[in-house]
């Protein structure tokens, strides 16, 4: 059982799943119950459809971007501008849709998706080309574009919030045949992005090459890999993931502003790292990134559900991130020792 589960998730992801399940069980046992207004039944404060979907929705925006971020981190890079790309895509998409109020709902949704994803792609391409051509560490490049992209969003909107057409909200809040107060679309998008990302990293030549460049860029060069194209592509993927998250998030909440997703980059990096990505490169998993995002959201949920003092939220999340990465390092070292011992 363990071996099959761990081969699907990888050893560390298996541990993450256990911790997340444990947290869920503890919350279910400890949480009080309340009367559900829609169904009329008494339900557990945590284990009920709307809370669970709410947790998935909160997770989805981080998790979608964490899949893109994982690719950047596997290549031994970093993208601090991912939250700003989200804001830029959200704002420019909303402003354009504002110009076309009479278009049909389907056209509005399609234009929204195309614009948001396109802006994400172009922003990512700018990051990627600069990282490759300028030879400056991606931390610095994306630190710069983090302010530039958000600044463009700020200037364009004059710091105002922009409403998106109702067609987009209807799309993002579709019930998909579930109860009318449940909104599973963000969760579905997250699952699709995670699956595509995981398959891409695991089973395509390009995914494998990203691992090789991050693991040892010199050996990758000596093996005839197109280093610059590979490195550029990971920032494009990260930008695209921000574009997707921006479309879903903006549609779901109904408006966009230049302050959207502020500080998300750090949550997103944390999710990827908790999910097993190594900042040294060569290691990481899309499924892990989603689980990492879920763990962070679950910790926040636990603080609310169990009526803990919310002032401690940041302290607890901070400790959880460091502990999970230290545990990961420790288990890697143990595995390497076993390997060396087996050889002797």
């Amino acid at each position: 059982m363990r071996s099959r589960a761990s081969s699907f998730f990888g050893v560390q992801q298996f541990g993450l799943v256990l911790i997340i399940l444990l947290l869920g069980v503890v919350m279910t046992i400890k949480a009080p119950s309340h009367l559900d207004r829609v169904s009329g039944h008494v339900v557990n404060n945590f284990l009920n459809p709307s809370t669970l979907i709410q947790v998935a929705t909160d997770t989805s925006f981080f998790a979608i971007m964490a899949v893109g971020m994982t690719m950047v981190i596997i290549s031994a890079g970093i993208d601090l501008s991912i939250g700003s790309i989200y804001a830029l895509a959200a704002v420019l998409m909303s402003m354009q849709l504002h110009q076309m109020p009479n278009a049909s709902p389907v056209v509005q949704v399609l234009v929204g998706i195309a614009l948001s994803c396109g802006i994400g792609l172009v922003s990512g391409l700018i990051n990627g080309v600069m990282v490759c051509r300028l030879g400056v560490h991606p931390f610095i490049i994306t630190l710069g574009t983090m302010w530039v992209f958000r600044g463009i969003a700020f200037v364009e909107t004059h710091a105002m919030s922009i409403l998106v057409p109702e067609s987009l909200t209807h799309f993002a809040k579709a019930n998909l045949g579930m109860r009318r107060d449940l909104y599973p679309v963000p969760m579905v998008v997250m699952l699709v992005v995670a699956t595509v990302g995981a398959l891409f990293l695991r089973s395509t030549t390009w995914g494998r090459r990203i691992f090789a460049v991050g693991g040892n860029i010199e050996a990758a060069k000596y093996s005839g890999l197109p280093i610059n194209r590979i490195l550029t592509s990971v920032y494009v993927f990260a930008g695209l993931s921000a574009g997707i998250a921006a479309f879903v998030g903006t549609s779901f909440y109904g408006s966009a502003s230049s302050g959207d997703a502020q500080g998300y980059e750090l949550y997103v990096i944390a999710s990827a790292v908790v999910g097993g990505a190594s900042l040294n490169g060569g290691k990481g998993s899309a499924v892990g990134a989603v689980l990492g995002a879920l763990l962070i959201v679950m910790i926040r949920q636990a603080i609310r559900t169990l009526n803990l003092d919310q002032n401690y939220e940041w302290i607890i999340i901070g400790i959880a991130i460091v502990v999970s990465v230290v545990l990961d390092r420790w288990s890697t070292v143990q595995a390497e020792r076993r390997l060396v011992r087996a050889r002797q």
Binding site: S203, T205, W206, Y222, G224, L225, L339
Partner: protein, 493 residues
């Protein structure tokens, strides 16, 4: 009993006995050379004297006392300093700061900059080096950085200075200046130990020479009255017949590669040669002769390289490794950990890395195809690892090297460039790698082989090119004999 002596010194590294029971006496005020082929143990002995390595057996006597060094700082404190081959400096700091690194002068809590500069100036002047102590060290040419190192050694009260291949990265003129300085230092009563394989330098400045071979002492003799021929023979030593191993009688086929005036400024002078199917062309030369640089230029890794290359008679450009692979080249690099393998990946993933497109359909890796391709070459190279899914980081040096070879076999190259294929590899794997290289040539591939091990080159190569200090100095047929190669390599008439 000498001023500085070693008795029965032995040192092992994983897989090699670097020194075995070596005893040497060094007289005060003399310049003593340590000589030998690559891997003879001369640098190891120098580093033991400087406290960098600790011997397993034997003792060091200095001024009639037995001494034990825990580290280089112990050696410095009794007056033994080393001028390193690779310069170990904080290149971002000034000359003065570097000279005072271990012992910063202070005024209360604060650094005493004036004292630092005064001290550095004094030390530099004592060896007549015109260097501004306030200059950033990394901005100085190598030759001047070396002078800073020497000044630091003497300033800290060194009685013995150990030079490890000091001229290997210097120009001719700079080298001559350094030799003059060493002569001066000797006159001032300093004892110098000079590790080198350059005959001219040894004859120019040294009084005595200790020759090592395969970690063992051959002899210590006076330079006066010694002929160059005798010294070369001492260094080679082996029965010449021993290297005359059987050559597979391969058919030499069509011309695979022709190189005309390939050159790279500052690395090597124009070279021209051809490589035919079935040939193993050996590149001989001492460390720093430009062999690795030639191989890297052929594989498109040197953007400054100029010259013409013809593959099967057609002129081609090789501007990067991708183009090199398209022309049918493969490179087994010298540094397998940094250039050969992605250690975080499995054996299978490393083997398939250059040929992913071959095992993929529309960009999707076909698991079964990848596994069977990797397995074929994994088995053919007899890589000793539990499975092809083992992490390559956990494999021994020999098995990692086999994996690098497997990778290029899988890529089905016509021209394989092999740089030091058996460095740090155990004896068994070495023989297997040799057989594989012969087998590749037999199958009609061309192999360009760089090796610092002369016996390896002589037993494998069907033709030899000899390099010295960046220039091609000769081309020899198979089995030219060690002596003639060694003479060309070292520049002895």
């Amino acid at each position: 009993m000498g001023f500085l002596s070693v008795r029965n010194l032995s040192k092992r590294f994983p897989g090699v006995q670097a020194l075995a029971g070596v005893s040497v006496d060094i007289e005060q005020g003399s310049c003593h050379a340590l000589m030998g082929e690559n891997g003879a143990g001369k640098s190891t002995l120098g580093k033991i004297l400087a406290g960098i390595y600790q011997p397993e057996e034997g003792e060091i006597l200095f001024q009639d006392h037995v001494i034990h060094f825990q580290g280089p700082q112990d050696a410095v404190s009794v007056g033994i300093s080393m001028v390193h081959q690779e310069l170990l400096f904080a290149e971002n700091m000034t000359v003065a700061e570097n000279l005072c690194l271990g012992d910063m002068p202070r005024k209360g809590l604060w650094l005493d900059r004036k004292e630092m500069i005064r001290r550095a100036t004094q030390w530099l002047e004592s060896i007549g080096a015109a260097i501004d102590p306030q200059q950033i060290l990394g901005e100085l040419p190598i030759s001047k950085q070396q002078l800073v190192q020497i000044a630091g050694g003497i300033g800290r009260g060194a009685k013995v200075l150990i030079f490890d291949e000091p001229t290997s990265s210097l120009s001719q003129a700079e080298a001559l200046k350094l030799l003059d300085l060493i002569r001066d230092l000797k006159k001032k009563g300093l004892t110098c130990i000079y590790v080198s394989h350059r005959l001219e330098e040894i004859f120019a400045i040294c009084d005595k020479v200790t020759v090592l071979r395969d970690g063992k002492l051959v002899d210590t003799v006076k330079i006066d009255g010694l002929s160059r021929d005798e010294l070369v023979r001492m260094m080679i030593g082996r029965e010449l017949a021993a290297s005359l191993e059987e050559h597979a009688t391969t058919k030499i086929g069509e011309e695979l590669l022709r190189v005309e005036n390939l050159a790279s400024p500052g690395k090597f002078q124009p070279v021209s040669f051809t490589l035919h199917a079935g040939e193993i062309l050996g590149l001989a030369g001492l460390v720093g002769a430009g062999r690795t640089e030639i191989v890297e230029a052929l594989f498109g890794l040197d953007p400054d390289a100029t010259g013409k290359m013809f593959v099967r008679g057609k002129q081609v450009s090789v501007r990067n490794p991708i183009e090199a692979m398209q022309r049918g080249f493969g490179l087994v690099p010298e540094d397998r950990k940094h250039h050969g393998l992605v250690l975080s990946m499995t054996a299978k993933e490393n083997v398939s890395l250059p040929v992913l497109d071959k095992v993929a359909t529309a960009g999707w890796i076909q698991n079964q195809r990848e596994r069977s391709l990797a397995q074929v070459f994994f088995d053919r190279m007899r890589v000793k690892a539990p499975t092809i899914d083992s992490k390559s980081a956990g494999l021994s040096g020999g098995n990692q090297q086999k994996l690098v070879l497997a990778k290029w076999l899988a890529a089905d190259t016509d021209v394989l460039l092999v740089d030091e294929p058996t460095r740090g590899v155990d004896v068994g794997a070495k023989a297997e790698i040799h057989n594989l290289i012969r087998g590749l040539a037999n199958e009609g591939n061309g192999v360009l082989l760089v090796s610092s091990e002369l016996p390896e080159l002589l037993s494998l190569a069907t033709r030899l090119i000899v390099m010295r200090e960046g220039s091609m100095v000769g081309e020899l047929p198979a089995n030219p004999g060690e002596e003639s190669v060694m003479r060309l390599m070292a520049g002895v008439q």
